[in-house]
């Protein structure tokens, strides 16, 4: 198949950028979106042009490194799919495809389609962990957890930290990302001791990073390659409200 790409090109963080048109010819419908870009980049390299920079790592939808705004949809038209797992059969021959980087003040462009998502790391550093005692691991069944809690915690833990939620959000809010971690740990016994302090510091960090406010448009849930539910945001706000009343101590 033959495609026309409109790709955001930007030489560096402070350089001006613009959309540039490329032809992608002889693309197999079985290629992934990133493989299609690889083909274009090979040609650009052969022609002496700078290849298009984009992030990727596992290419199997589990690491969260990839992430492109494709035709105005974070990770493209396929629901519950990261960019690396999107295949060219999702597009029709002759299609025009717009490819842009995640756009947010908290995700500055490094080059072309690659953005700096360390703001998400700093939100995790603010409390997205449990302070576990080291030593031999406990017997698996020593701590009982209700089945619904396990299911909801696991669904939230599926977050790969790609940042599509904030990219898709009309307010550039990272609420779904932060809420997924707060929900994951808040539903498990191990997460209880730090639960309310965690809500305060992670929410505080999210604001400091310059993300926007949640209007509950629901765009994040639709964009999420792991289909994490906006119910997590309800839980985050509940924990934050309670923590604000108790001062983070229980």
């Amino acid at each position: 198949m033959n495609l026309t790409l409109h790709v955001w090109r930007q030489a560096g963080p402070d350089a001006p950028g613009k959309m540039v048109r490329y032809e992608a010819n002889d693309i197999s419908p079985d290629m992934s979106f990133l493989e299609m870009l690889d083909v274009v980049n090979e040609r650009l390299t052969a022609e002496g042009e700078t290849p298009i920079a984009f992030d990727h790592d596992c290419r199997e939808g589990i690491c969260g490194a990839c992430g492109l705004m494709i035709n105005g949809i974070a990770h493209g038209p396929e629901k519950g799919t990261a960019t690396c797992q999107l295949h060219m059969r999702s597009f029709s021959d002759g299609a025009a495809i717009y490819i842009e980087p995640w756009r947010a003040r908290a995700f500055p462009v490094i080059r072309d389609l690659a953005v700096d998502r360390s703001s998400l790391d700093r939100i995790i550093q603010a409390g997205g962990f449990i302070t576990a005692a080291t030593g031999g691991s406990q017997d698996a069944n020593a701590i009982l957890v209700p089945k619904e809690n396990v299911d909801d915690a696991m669904d939230s833990a599926a977050c790969i930290g790609c940042g599509a939620c904030a990219a898709a959000c009309p307010n550039a809010s990272a609420s779904l990302f932060t809420a997924a971690k707060i929900t994951h740990l808040g539903l498990l016994p191990q997460g209880q001791p730090e639960r309310y302090r965690r809500a305060l510091s992670m929410v505080g960090r999210m604001d400091l990073e310059g993300f926007g406010s949640c209007t509950l448009h629901g765009e994040c849930q639709e964009a999420c390659p792991k289909e994490i539910s906006i119910d997590t945001i309800t839980r985050m706000n509940r924990d934050f409200l309670r923590a604000s009343v108790t001062g983070g101590r229980e």
Binding site: M69, I73, E100, R105, G212, E219, N237, R238
Partner: protein, 220 residues
């Protein structure tokens, strides 16, 4: 710790304030719509209801004070979260396709601004009688005030438009507020808004029926 100012300094805290104050207004608006529907039972019913409200004295002023404070907080928080959200995306997309956002959710800001204008004019019109589109105003005959005003096409039009804005604002807001506050139960399909659709339809129909019925000459 994050009590008091720290709570409000965060965007989540602001949204919780918006949710609570918004819900206070939802409660008022539902009662207001039900009361206003008495216009369909004739002048007696509406005027004696209005007389009853005014006879509650201090209680009436307490309710008014709560509503004014709630509105001021709601609007201040709305302006603040809107400004922070705008600043959060300095460079926009060349192309963006919404997957879940509705007309209602995307017009919360402009619709809210229209509601603010409406609330101010509405009080000057029916409560204080400062703005008199029909020329006359009676402090005792609310029924006559309604009928003379809504016979004027642009008055009826302004009310009908504003009430459409209220319907949209609450179709999204009644649903989002309980989520912002964190009291909504876990749901298999969180984007479904059945209850808020019913609420928004009821309020829109009730508030729109009055100016339309009067303008069409069905009552009065």
């Amino acid at each position: 710790m994050a009590t008091g100012r720290g709570f409000y300094r965060s965007l989540v805290g602001k949204k919780i304030v918006m949710g609570v104050t918004g819900l206070i207004w939802v409660g008022f608006v539902v009662g207001h719509a039900a009361g206003n529907l008495l216009v369909f039972r004739g002048p007696e019913a509406l005027n004696s209801y209005s007389h009853f409200l005014k006879s509650t004295g201090e209680l009436l002023w307490i309710v008014r004070a709560v509503l004014v404070v709630a509105l001021v907080l709601h609007v201040i928080a709305a302006v603040q979260v809107t400004r922070q959200s705008r600043a959060a995306r300095p460079v926009g997309y060349a192309k963006q396709e919404h997957q879940a956002a509705t007309f209602a959710s995307r017009t919360m800001r402009w619709g809210g601004a229209l509601l603010l204008v409406f609330i101010v004019l509405h009080i000057l019109h029916f409560t204080t009688g400062t703005v008199r589109p029909a020329g006359s105003f009676s402090t005792t005959d609310v029924y006559a005030n309604m009928v003379t005003s809504f016979r004027i096409w642009w008055v009826a039009f302004f009310y009908v438009t504003s009430m459409a804005a209220l319907g949209f604002h609450l179709f999204h807001g009644a649903w989002s507020s309980v989520r912002s506050i964190g009291v909504s139960p876990v749901s298999a399909d969180p984007l479904k808004k059945k209850v808020s659709l019913g609420l928004a339809l009821f309020l829109w129909l009730a508030f729109t029926a009055i100016p339309v019925a009067i303008f069409a000459g069905l009552i009065g």
